[in-house]
Amino acid sequence: MEESTAVSSKRVSRPAGRRAQVQASGTDTVGSEPIGSDPAGASGPVGSGPVGSAAVGSGAVGSGAAGSGPPGPPVGPPEPPSAGDAGSSTPATESGMGAGSGAATSQAPPEVSVGPQSPESAQPMPLDKTATTAVQTALRTENAAIWAYALVAASDKDDIAVTGSMVAAHRVRRDATAGLLVAAKQEAPPPAPAYRVPKVSNQAQARELAIQIESDCAAAWRNVVGSTDNADLRRLAAQVLLETANRLVRWRQLAKADPVTVAFPGER
């Protein structure tokens, strides 16, 4: 807690009145709420079980590197070099990222599908307070993912196509999630100017960061599943969790992690 508080004071400038989006480097999580600040994970049956412990912000990946040394965040431009742009002009080579089945197809197009449960095409989904908080946290995590993937692209030239397609998927998901909140007449938190991330200077670190990004997103969407009784929202969040888990495994394959799969994606 002390570390988190101390690092929080180093936050880069952000609009007043917004909740913290710049993650403390000591927690080694990209762009999410500080530990313990998520009401969705602290209330109801979810908060009392493993799901609550999987609240975004507990970053499990690369924890050794995060707290060491000065924070190495690129606090420069609000929007770093866009990896999505690079990816959109190159053919995607990743597989197994299709929305829906999660099955791998090596010739799959870039993953931009949001699935049949796209919030934009659906009726406004009523959200209670707990679900709203969880979805807002997920949106913040998606914003952070888009921002952080630019760093991945900058340090991992070999996987630029993979990165691009994944950024495109996160952009679509971000827009869909914002649309979901707006349709429910809830606030859609805007992206922060910058996020504090571990130092990324080579390909291995970039892949570790990508794994962390997807782990955070998986945790956020798993939290959404466990924060609501709305069947449609559960299905939507489960679908996103599935897509995120596939991206996570893709990065773990590239990083030659062992084991490649994770028994409970989104749980920490």
């Binding site: 109801g44 599943v225 489960a238 799969t261």
Partner: protein
């Protein structure tokens, strides 16, 4: 005034006849008897059985070695799923979790590594659907657990898919 009364009485009689009410009816009062529905089946039983079977199949396939060796980490995942499901069932039943593995529980190994992998993909698909189907019907905690397991199973299919 009298004519209006006659018309009103006629209308009342016609309406009663339409509704099936007549003073000359000899039928008894209709009673509706509702049979109590059977208690809902806990989906955990089926999911646990399925997970146990798939775990045993993965283990049998992994024992073939070679290309089927990549089933070993997937079997570990399924064993973790099984343990968690048993723990969750025991939590709600206020009992002690049953052991995930028991001596003597085996299945016949597939004929070849390719058959083992194919079987594992099919099992993962079936299990993913089974867990996904229950997400909307269970408690919040279980929904999150099932969603996570379903996502894991999707990654199994990805890992096993031919590259």
């Amino acid at each position: 005034m009298a004519r209006r009364g006659v018309f009103a009485a006629g209308a009342a009689v016609a309406l009663s006849a339409t509704a099936g009410c007549t003073v000359f009816s000899s039928s008894r009062t209709t009673r509706t008897e509702t049979v109590a529905a059977p208690p809902p089946t806990d989906p955990m039983d089926n999911l646990i059985s399925m997970t146990r079977l798939h775990y045993l199949r993965l283990q049998a396939g992994a024992s073939l070695g070679g290309a089927a060796a990549k089933l070993e980490p997937l079997a570990k995942d399924r064993l973790e799923h099984l343990k968690r499901l048993l723990a969750e069932q025991a939590r709600t039943n206020r009992s002690t979790p049953a052991p995930a593995t028991q001596a003597g529980q085996t299945v016949a190994p597939p004929a070849s590594a390719a058959a083992a992998i194919s079987s594992a993909v099919d099992d993962a698909s079936v299990a993913q659907v089974a867990f996904t189907d229950q997400i909307a019907n269970v408690s919040r905690y279980r929904a999150a657990l099932f969603a996570s397991i379903a996502a894991c199973l999707a990654t199994h299919r990805t890992v096993l898919a031919p590259s």
